[in-house]
Symmetry: C3
């Protein structure tokens, strides 16, 4: 679509994102989700046309990674830099937080000249999203009380419940692969558990996928070995979404059966909900022996499901034997990154470049979340950038 | 005050800060301290008015934290970013400094395109400030010999003697709380030791406070249990300052008595001077057993003074039962961040937001130290920013 | 030389550097090497004249240090900042790379909005340069397949074979010390092994020096104790270069004899090639005992050559008793950074400032490698900066 037309279309959507944190996709309206997709697409286009997207002359974007990250760390850094912000890491080991500082206090201390805080906190069930809201409340208070000149926006870079920058990048990928959001209606997407030789992988990706894709009339198939369920409340959200959007939602326990006639497959390992609960308790109690014991049990359990590998045999039952394969990366690729894993090497290779393209939307999704948090009328802002036409790289 | 008038007033003060490192407040004239306060205030105002304060189109600000930090790290990053500089951390563990590189050499190696170096070195008595001066001398040589195109300015981000970015932020807080520096004349400020379950806290904050506040005609009460003295030479400086400025200086050993009629209280734990001396020797000798032994003795000693908690009982004897409570944060809050600590939770809560506001001046104080180091006529520079009126965030 | 004239001269050289990674100096033509020297000189001059060199309004420069670094880390950060890019570290410990992610994947994941990747990988013989090429191939694929909007340029920040940012900075130093590249013709440079109390130092500096300096008609003397040879293929390259450029190449095993009539000396420790091979195997096998055993053997061997210290006695046989002393720093200085080392303290002191000046070219060499990778006609680009005349620091 022509960029001018795209901006005009965007201008018709009324944003509810202004001054709101982006914590869970299911707290956002369909319109708001569409705005994010459109703004991300426009930012990507502007950058590819060498048009500067700097809206900030200075300012900090704080990243608080409480778990490892490559993709999301670089996506956050890229988005911040794109808009003109400098990234400052809150490295809790190098800080005085171990001194017994409260979240409330830290949130303010890092925010005097900050515009955004990106948080990843996905290790503890029941904790990550709660922590983000605690930070949010603290920032609200700090802003209200005149401590902070600006209320920094929060972007959820993965929590125990959702991974919205991932699922929105995935949605943008689907929109581009199938031509439009409308075209997703009636498509079958299989969010499937897959075998991995590691344990304790977060639930946020599968939860994020079923809760988001169910809003666009898709037929969601959630497949996992018995006992590998997700957080029940989020499954309920997905069910309700599917009903409302005219799609469907089904749970099954056989990978191959689930794949039948799938348009899209997302095979990915995760730890069972009840195991994550136990793990959270043990982690909080710093019970090392308990954790080792749990890991042993889990790995033994996982090993019973090595047949949950996405391979040619399963691909063959999908629509046209060629369902779109998706993954948040890095995938556990059999015989490449591990002996036996989530996906067969040949199958992965066939879709590898597409998974890279999928990942490449994330910086722009984060940029869109920032832009819409800070500017009431995103279409006007982007039109302004286009008209200003400052070059990102000298020509 | 109107911003124009403020700039005019500032223009009347003749700066002695140009091309001078900021290492100790007692090396600076009262006029220079006032200039720092004024420039900090103006930078804060400009930023709140969305006026860009970028004076540097590019350039590095090096941070060298030899001890943990959150507040000061973010304050330094914020100030650097505000003025247009990118922060580069000198992480001594990731460098080749362990190779046996000299300070003289490192100082030059990191400075080829640097404009400022911020240093925190507060662990060893007799070492931190000395290290900063060694860096300073090396930079002088490098600049003189044509190695460096610019002599980077040094900002003391806390040493064994002083914590000038903290004490100056505290002074700006007091100026704003009491309306003017003049109004501080005759006010009683109690810098008091307080109980903490940790040991080995630096002396730089209490030393910085008594040495700075004594210059503005305040009545300084330094209170601590017998044996918890500060570096004698700095106490002498505070005494002399008080005499010169028409204030007073008194040392006492009973927390509640000390608080009587106080206008301002600053209850904060520190390690006794003579313990810090022993600790320095043990640290340098890498004597782990000795350090453990010392810690045990210290904690036992500290535990004898758990009544040195700032609480309602002590508050009740202060001026109007409502002295301004100050702290550099994070405070050891009883029943919040530790079982028994420096301050009662209810009392802290009453002043919590004010301590956040106090902390919020630090980025601007650092920015002012940088600006005045680099520009001879700060008033003209700020007036230039105001007239240029470039927006920090697109509107 | 006048800056205008310098730019005109540069315009006469036809660059082959555009869109090419800088991995090994011996892959580049003499013209290209001259272009790097000229662009570096011009960037240095522009910056010293307070002219902004920002060519990028935003964009990331990724640093991937697989070994410690101070000088090169700061040089890369400085160069990136000079051109307008923000540095983002790829810290492999904080990433998900340990998850078993492929190089191919990581290379793309960090590059969605990146303009350059600087890599140091010098620990394993046969690995570092190979790794860089693997990254390069991955970026080529990503760019070709539409994953990346820009193909980020790679700068070799030291590998197992070459250390081109160092050797090119050294060459620029020589050009300035001797007046021109032409004047280097016929000059004798001694790249000599020297004793160090540590072991396992990379071969990349001596290899880089002999392979580069041999291209300008210099007489290369490579001196080391028997058994301390370099990678034979690179020695062959240096020999062939010398022949072609009208210089000479000689290997000898007595430090003092080698120094006779030297114009330039570069005494520096390194580990023997065959030891590095063994070490690589042991490191890869994670054989701790084997590594300790090897270290012991090596240190014992090294200790037989403590007389390989550059001192007054050796200086006295050089041209005019005053050959230019060079070092990549940090040097192992006897009685300063170690008991017995590569160089006598008095001799080092005499040339210390010159070694700092030598090091100071590196940021500009890296800047020149970046600029020429991205812009086809460097002279035009630099002329554009000069004409634009935007100030780096407000005046």
């Amino acid at each position: 679509m022509d960029i001018k037309k795209r901006i005009e279309k965007l201008a018709e959507l009324k944003s509810g994102l202004y001054k709101k944190d982006f914590l869970l996709t299911w707290e956002k309206s369909e319109t708001d989700l569409k705005i994010i997709l459109e703004v991300a697409t426009l930012l990507k286009e502007l950058r590819e046309k060498n048009v500067s997207c700097r809206l900030f002359d200075s300012g900090l974007a704080i990243s608080n990674f409480r778990d490892n990250s490559t993709r999301t760390r670089f996506s956050f850094a890229s988005a911040s830099n794109l808009l003109g912000l400098a990234v400052q890491d809150l490295d809790e080991e190098k800080s005085q937080i171990s001194h017994g500082e409260t979240v409330r206090e830290t949130a303010n201390m890092i925010s005097f000249l900050s515009d955004f805080i990106g948080i990843r906190d996905d290790m503890f069930l029941g904790e990550g999203n709660k922590y983000m809201r605690e930070v949010a409340d603290s920032l609200d208070e700090g802003f209200k009380e005149g401590v902070l000149p600006v209320r920094p926006g929060i972007v959820n870079l993965q929590c125990d419940m959702d991974h919205p920058t991932q699922s929105m990048a995935d949605l943008l990928h689907l929109q581009n692969e199938f031509g439009s959001l409308k075209n997703l209606k009636g498509k079958k997407i299989v969010m499937s558990w897959a075998y991995s030789p590691s344990y304790g992988k977060p639930l946020s990706v599968p939860q994020g996928i079923i809760a988001l894709m169910s809003r666009f009339g898709m037929n969601i198939e959630l497949a996992y070995p018995e006992g590998y369920g997700l957080i029940p409340e989020i499954v309920d959200i997905a069910k309700a979404n599917a009903k409302k959007s005219g799609g469907s939602f089904n749970i099954s326990h056989n990978m191959k059966d689930a794949m039948k006639d799938a348009d899209i497959v997302y095979p990915k390992s995760w730890a069972p909900f009840h195991i994550m609960q136990q793990r959270t308790e043990l982690l909080m109690a710093k019970d090392k022996n308990g954790l080792q014991e749990l890991e042993k049990v889990c790995l033994t359990n996982n090993a019973k499901h090595k047949d949950w590998e996405y391979n040619q045999d399963k691909m063959n039952v999908t629509k046209g034997k060629n369902a779109l394969y998706m993954h948040c990366l890095p995938a556990d690729i059999s015989a490449v990154s591990c002996k036996e894993g989530e996906v067969n090497a040949d199958v992965f290779e066939k879709y590898r470049i597409k998974t890279y393209i999928e990942a490449g939307y994330k910086p722009y999704i984060i940029g869109a979340m920032m832009l819409t948090n800070r500017f009431k009328k995103p279409a006007e802002v982007i039109d302004g950038l286009l008209k200003q036409n400052k070059k990102r790289v000298t020509q």
